[in-house]
Structure formats: structure tokens, C-alpha cells
């Protein structure tokens, strides 16, 4: 069964002090259901990382189903740290592809701003081993900082050159209505920003924010019921890696990213050169470089140079983070994979407005949990005219 995205909905990412986790999920879900014309989906899958910590709330599947007036519908949450949205899409794709469901509502949601920054750091560190990494106080940022130092050292890359990625993300976010930070930054701003965990500065890190995104996946058999333009979900792939990056033989190789990407491309019968844009998991500047290099879009150690020369700009050879990515649009962790998917849908249905990539046919979304510990890759294709 061919699988399609029949519509999307999302909130702006940022501080939603007056809305709860469920309010956000409802807003995104209702928008996507209305847009698609599928008012009663066969199944609901929720992507979320730490609602138990941020909102003392679990059991999200039934809760969101009931909120939508859809109690009775099979519904549950799936979790894969910051790749929760991506793995939710992977599960939904399997249901539709297999014929088990004709339509699945996928909702990614995260509420992060209701808890103190130190507690956010602790919640994010649940992506790492509780008995070891968390026990020692090694936050997620500190691990990425150690990874950054290794990468800079191994490939003789300058810290300054990595600033190309947050600068690009913010530029793309300026014209995205749903982005958390709609303002530009300069490489000097990045260099002068507060050191969080040397050599990582605050502007190397994706921000903390609340948000929800949703899409309705449908089988080709119910395409006539759909109201909006659709994009085909041609393949969905998830891969895992050794759990902590320091356990890996080559610590600066993202093998889950590489495997998920290769597998998705093979399943779709495509090649890397068919990809027109990438919604990339730019949680930290170094992650952009390592993901691009591990997927094969840049030579090892060259991603920052390619970025500085404009290859990944909206008008470049391979646009990335077309609405600002995690850095500019924002990173409500369990929702991020679904935001990326929604943004790819907008690109491929010609609805990206000022952020439109020229004539894209295939888009790739790359969503990572931990430091490439769980990675989900999705390939979407534009419908033939």
C-alpha cells in the first residue's frame, strides 16, 4: 500500500504559558485533521519524550484521542528521545503500508518551558544511560561539547567555521511564521555568545520551547476522501547505534544516520543525488556537520566549508532546515520529527511561501535521538503534476 501525507498542522514553537501539553497537541491535531479532510482517523500515534517529567502526564494516546472526541480509537505514545516524532511516523507508516489502518493521525508534542532550565537539562539527559552518564552529571550539552572538540581536532576544522550552520538556520527562520526565533544572527554573535560547555556556545545549541505538530497519513485507497494536496511518504527507516557515543569505535561517525539514510534510499529505489532538500536534526552545530558527512552529502571534515560557501542555503545545491531547523524554528524535542515532516510536506506541495525551495521533488527528514543513538529518516516525494 502506498502511503501519503494528506495534511499537516502545527503550533508556533516557543513559550506557550497559557496552553497545556494537551492543548498544544489538540491544536495541531485539529488543524491537520481539518486540512486533510479525514475527520475520524483509524489510529492515533503520539510522539513525545518527557511529558511525565514536564507535565506529570502519561497515557497520552487515550488522553489526546478523548480530547479530540475520538475515544474508542486505538491510540498510544511511542518514545525515542528527541527522535520520538520520527519513530512515531515510522510506526504510523507501518500501519498504513501494511493495510492495518487506512488513516493514522500522528501527533508530536512537547512542553519544555514549564520546568526550570536545570530540570530541562536533567530531562534531556534521560536520552543517556541513567546509571552512568546521568549519574555523573554529564548533561546532553556536555556530551555534544566533547564530541565537538573531537571533531574539530580530528579534521582540523575551526570552531568559527561551524557557526555557518546556526547562522543559516536563523536566516531561514526569519520568514517562517511558526519559528521560535525569527531573527538573523552573525558568526560574531555565535562566537561571542555565552559558553555553555566549552567549546559549545549557547548559539551552537537548539533552544528549549513548547510545540506540537501533526500529520495524517493515509493509504492510496482513501486518497479520493482527501481535501488537500498530498505528498507521498516513499520510505521510512529507523536505525540505532551503540548507546553512548564514547562506546563507539569511531566516535565521530554517525552510523545510525548513515544506515537509516541508506536503507530509506534503497527502499525507495533512489540515490543520494535525487534528494532535493534535507530537514536535518541540527540540535548542535557539530551535529549538522557529522550528519551531512555521515549521509554522504559532504566529504569528511568538509561540511562547514560547504556550508560557508552556500551549498545548504535555501537557494543552494542542497537546502537544509528550510524553515530554520531545530536551531531557528525550535526544538520541542518529541515534536521535532513531526515538524520536519510537516515542513517537507509544505515544500513538496508548494505551500512553503517565502521559504519555498525551487522545484523540489524529493525531501529527506533526519531526526535523531541521543547522539545518533536512534535515528529516523523519512523520504517524501512530490506528486506528479
Amino acid at each position: 500500500m502506498k502511503v501519503f501525507s494528506a495534511g499537516v498542522g502545527f503550533t508556533r514553537v516557543g513559550d506557550h504559558w497559557t496552553k497545556s501539553l494537551v492543548d498544544l497537541a489538540e491544536e495541531a491535531a485539529v488543524k491537520s485533521l481539518k486540512s486533510s479532510g479525514i475527520t475520524v482517523p483509524d489510529f492515533i500515534i503520539v510522539g513525545n519524550m518527557f511529558s511525565a517529567v514536564s507535565s506529570r502526564q502519561e497515557h497520552l494516546g487515550a488522553l489526546i484521542a478523548d480530547t479530540l472526541g475520538l475515544s474508542g480509537t486505538p491510540a498510544y505514545k511511542v518514545e525515542g528521545a528527541c527522535a520520538s516524532g520520527g519513530v512515531a511516523l515510522n510506526a504510523a507508516n507501518a500501519l498504513v503500508k501494511s493495510g492495518e489502518a487506512d488513516s493514522v493521525l500522528v501527533v508530536g508534542v512537547e512542553k519544555m518551558r514549564d520546568i526550570e532550565p536545570g530540570e530541562v537539562a536533567r530531562a534531556l539527559s534521560m536520552a543517556e544511560n541513567a546509571e552512568y552518564t546521568q549519574f555523573l552529571g554529564a548533561s546532553f550539552v556536555s556530551l555534544n561539547a566533547m564530541l565537538t572538540r573531537l571533531y574539530l581536532e580530528k579534521y582540523s576544522v575551526s570552531l568559527e567555521s561551524l557557526a555557518a550552520f546556526p547562522v543559516l538556520a536563523h536566516r531561514n527562520a526569519t520568514t517562517a511564521d511558526h519559528a521560535q526565533f525569527r531573527k538573523t544572527i552573525t558568526p560574531q554573535d555565535v562566537a561571542k555568545s555565552l559558553p555553555v560547555s566549552d567549546p559549545v556556545r549557547v548559539l551552537d545549541c537548539a533552544p528549549v520551547g513548547d510545540g506540537a505538530a501533526a500529520t495524517v497519513l493515509v493509504g492510496e485507497n482513501i486518497l479520493p476522501d482527501c481535501k488537500s494536496p498530498v505528498a507521498e511518504l516513499v520510505s521510512s527507516s529507523v536505525a540505532t547505534n551503540r548507546f553512548s557515543f564514547y562506546e563507539r569505535e569511531d566516535m565521530v561517525d554517525f552510523s545510525a544516520t548513515r544506515k537509516a539514510c541508506q536503507n530509506a534510499i534503497e527502499k525507495a529505489g533512489l540515490t543520494l543525488s535525487d534528494i532535493d532538500f534535507v530537514e536535518l536534526h541540527d540540535a548542535f552545530s557539530v551535529v549538522v556537520a557529522l550528519a551531512l558527512e555521515s549521509m554522504g552529502f559532504s566529504e569528511r571534515g568538509h561540511a562547514a566549508v560547504d556550508g560557508t560557501s552556500g551549498d545548504f542555503d535555501l537557494e543552494g545545491k542542497l537546502p537544509i532546515g528550510t524553515f530554520g531547523g531545530l536551531k531557528g524554528r525550535g526544538h520541542p524535542v518529541g515534536a521535532t520529527g513531526v515538524y520536519q515532516f510537516c515542513e517537507a510536506y509544505l515544500q513538496l506541495t508548494g505551500q512553503a511561501k517565502l521559504n519555498q525551495v525551487q522545484d523540489p521533488k524529493i525531501g529527506l527528514t533526519h531526526n535523531m535521538g541521543g547522539i545518533d543513538t536512534t535515528t529516523a529518516v523519512h523520504l517524501l516525494r512530490r506528486m506528479d503534476d
Binding site: 536545570g118 530540570e119 549519574f135 555523573l136 552529571g137 566516535m251
Partner: protein
């Protein structure tokens, strides 16, 4: 496990998790032990400037954190510069 090794990479963490605020700024490193196994640890008893990639370190037994309202102390290993 061997008690000594060399620093492979490190960071100075300035924004710690709530439980570790008393330790900030906190030096964290990945250390390759003499049997090639890599471990993660806090580096203690030295300033940030004394650390570089390749620095030789030895394991020491320390308090890691205290836990919850009962203030139960948790112990573990950390590493210090090996001057020998």
C-alpha cells in the same frame, strides 16, 4: 579495570543539571584506559588550564552527588591528573 589512562576529549560544563550546581564549572572527559576501554568521568583537583587532549589521568574515589531530601551521598570514581 586499569586505574590510569589518557584524556581523549573533554569539556568544561558551566550550566549543570540541578543536582550538580555545586560542582559548576565541572570538567568532564572521556578517558581511554590502558586496556583501550573508554570511560566518561569528571576530572577533579585541577584547573581547566591544566587539561589537554592526551593528559594522563588516574582514577580517584569521590563523592559524586547527594540525592533527594534525605541527602543520601552517592560515591563513585573520578579522575585526577597523574603526575607520576
Amino acid at each position: 579495570m586499569p586505574k590510569t589512562g589518557n584524556i581523549v576529549t573533554y569539556t568544561v560544563l558551566r550550566e549543570t543539571m540541578t543536582r550538580f550546581e555545586a560542582h559548576a564549572p565541572m570538567i568532564l572527559a572521556i578517558i581511554q584506559l590502558e586496556n583501550q576501554v573508554k570511560v566518561l568521568s569528571q576530572i577533579v583537583d585541577c584547573s581547566e588550564d591544566a587539561i589537554k587532549i592526551g593528559s594522563r589521568v588516574k582514577a580517584v574515589f569521590r563523592k559524586v552527588a547527594s540525592n533527594g531530601d534525605s541527602d543520601t551521598i552517592q560515591y563513585g570514581y573520578k579522575f585526577a591528573i597523574d603526575t607520576q
